[in-house]
Amino acid sequence: MTDHPVEHLRLLEAVLFASKEPLGEKKLSNYFNEDVDVKALLKTLQEDYQNRGVQLVQRGNAWAFRTAEDLAEKLSEHRANVKTLSRAAIETLAICAYHQPVTRAEIEEIRGVSLSKGTLDVLFEAGWLKPRGRRRTPGRPMTWGTTIEFLDQFGLEKIDDLPGIEELKTAGLLDARPAINAYTVRGEMELPFDHPDQPESEDDFIEEPLDENG
C-alpha cells in the first residue's frame, strides 16, 4: 500500500492493460486516493510507452492501450471482419460528428433528403452515436453526438481532431441551420425565407417542424 509514484504507475498500467475498452478518468481515479493526480500519472505512462509497440492513447476523457499504428501491416492477421457502411450512413456519421449536437431535422436539411429508416440504426448499434439532450426549441427535438467508441474506432483523441474541422469552421460550413426555406425536404413551397446570414446562438434557433413519418 505504498504511495510511491512507481506503484501508482504500475497499478494504472495494469488496470488499463487489462481492459479492452477505453477507461474514463473518473473510473480510473477510483483506484487511487483523492490526492493522487491521475491525469499526471496518465501523461507519464503515455510517455513511457511513446516509442513502444503498444501505446497509451487518449479518447475523449478515456484512455486505452492500443498497438502502434506503424505496425499495422505486420499485424494484418488480426484484422477483424469488415462491415460495409452505406454512403448515407457515412454522410450521416460525418454530419453527427462535425455538427454535434445535431437534430434529425438538421441532418436532413444538410443532406437534402429525409433520413431513411435504418441509417441511424446502424450507427447506433455500432455504439458511435449517443443522445446529447433536447434542444430548447419548439418540439424540443433530440440532439445527437458521437461517443468515446467513435473516437476509438477512428483513432481520434478528441472531436477537435476530426480531419479538417478547423477549416470547415472557419469557412462557416458547420452551420446546420436551413440555408433557405424556399423548398424543404418535403418539397413544400414556403415563403418567406429565413435569412442565413444572421447566426444566432446554437440553442435558440427554431427547428422547422418536419413531418414525423418522413
Binding site: A72, A80, G127, G164, V185, G187
Partner: protein
C-alpha cells in the same frame, strides 16, 4: 466494436452513376435534388464558391427535361426543385425589385450555393473519416482482456442501444397483434336507395338532392358517407329510369325529379 468499415468500397458505389459524360440521366443512386445539383455543379469544374447558379439552374432544368423525355419517374421533390430553380432563374435575369418581404435573387442563389458547399464538405468529411477508420484494421486492442476475481462492485453489460432496441421490439410486438376491424359506421348505399325510393313518384319539381339526405347525421364522416351513398343511389335510380338528374355547373347543386312528371329542362 467489431463492426468495422470497409476502406475500399462502399456498398452503393456501384449504384452511383458514372461521373463521366456531360449529362447524367440515370436516376439510380441519387438521393434527392440536392444530390443531383451537387453532381451537376461538379461538371462546371470550378470551386463551389464560384459556381454559376444561373448555369446550374439551366443544367438542372435540362436534366429534368431529359429525364421526363426518357419517361423516368421523377419524385415530386425533383419537380419542386425544378419549379423553384425556374423561379430563381427568372428572378436572377429580371432587374432587381425592391422588396423587404423576400430575400433578393442573389441571396437565394447564395443560400443554394452555401447548401451545396455544405453538403460537399460533409461528403468529403465522411470520406476523410473513413480514411481514418483504424481500430481493428490498423490499431488493435488487447486480445485477452483480464477480469479479476474478488468483487465488491457489480456492473452490467447493457447499453442504451440495448434498452432502446428492447423497447422498440416490445412496441413492434404490439403492432403485430390482432387487428380488430370495427363494424362500419357509415350510411350505406342500400339505406340510401331505400330512402330515395320512398320519395319516388313524389318529386314533381326539380329538388336539390341534399334535401333527401337522412335527417339524423352523426358526424362528419357519417355525413360524407350519406352524401356519397345518396348520390350513388340517385345515379342508380336514374339508370333504371325512375328519376332524372340535373347539374348546371361543375360543383353546382345536383337536382333530381321524378321521371313520371313532365319536366322540361334536362341536362
Amino acid at each position: 466494436m467489431e463492426n468495422l468499415i470497409d476502406l475500399d468500397k462502399h456498398e452503393d458505389d456501384d449504384l452511383r452513376p458514372k461521373r463521366k459524360g456531360t449529362l447524367i440521366i440515370d436516376l439510380e443512386g441519387f438521393e434527392g435534388p440536392l444530390d443531383i445539383l451537387l453532381e451537376l455543379a461538379r461538371e462546371q469544374k470550378v470551386d463551389l464558391i464560384h459556381i454559376s447558379i444561373l448555369h446550374l439552374a439551366d443544367q438542372y432544368l435540362q436534366w429534368v427535361a431529359e429525364a421526363r423525355r426518357k419517361n423516368l419517374e421523377l419524385a415530386a421533390d425533383y419537380l419542386v426543385m425544378a419549379a423553384w430553380l425556374a423561379y430563381l432563374k427568372s428572378r436572377l435575369l429580371l432587374p432587381a425589385q425592391a422588396s423587404e418581404e423576400e430575400p433578393s435573387a442573389e441571396e437565394m442563389a447564395a443560400a443554394l450555393a452555401f447548401q451545396l458547399q455544405r453538403l460537399e464538405a460533409m461528403r468529403n468529411a465522411g470520406e476523410a473519416l473513413i480514411e481514418r477508420n483504424s481500430l481493428g484494421l490498423r490499431i488493435f486492442k488487447r486480445g485477452m482482456p483480464e477480469t479479476f476475481g474478488k468483487l465488491d462492485e457489480v456492473s452490467y453489460d447493457v447499453t442504451l442501444y440495448d434498452l432502446m432496441k428492447a423497447y422498440g421490439d416490445q412496441m413492434n410486438k404490439h403492432v403485430d397483434q390482432t387487428l380488430h376491424i370495427e363494424p362500419m359506421d357509415l350510411y350505406s348505399m342500400d339505406m340510401a336507395i331505400e330512402r330515395l325510393r320512398s320519395f319516388i313518384g313524389n318529386i314533381p319539381e326539380w329538388t336539390m338532392l341534399v334535401q333527401f339526405l337522412p335527417t339524423e347525421l352523426k358526424n362528419n364522416l357519417h355525413t360524407r358517407s350519406a352524401i356519397a351513398s345518396t348520390f350513388a343511389a340517385a345515379l342508380e335510380m336514374a339508370r333504371d329510369g325512375k328519376i332524372k338528374i340535373r347539374q348546371s355547373e361543375t360543383f353546382g347543386h345536383i337536382y333530381i325529379q321524378s321521371n313520371e312528371s313532365r319536366g322540361t329542362e334536362h341536362d
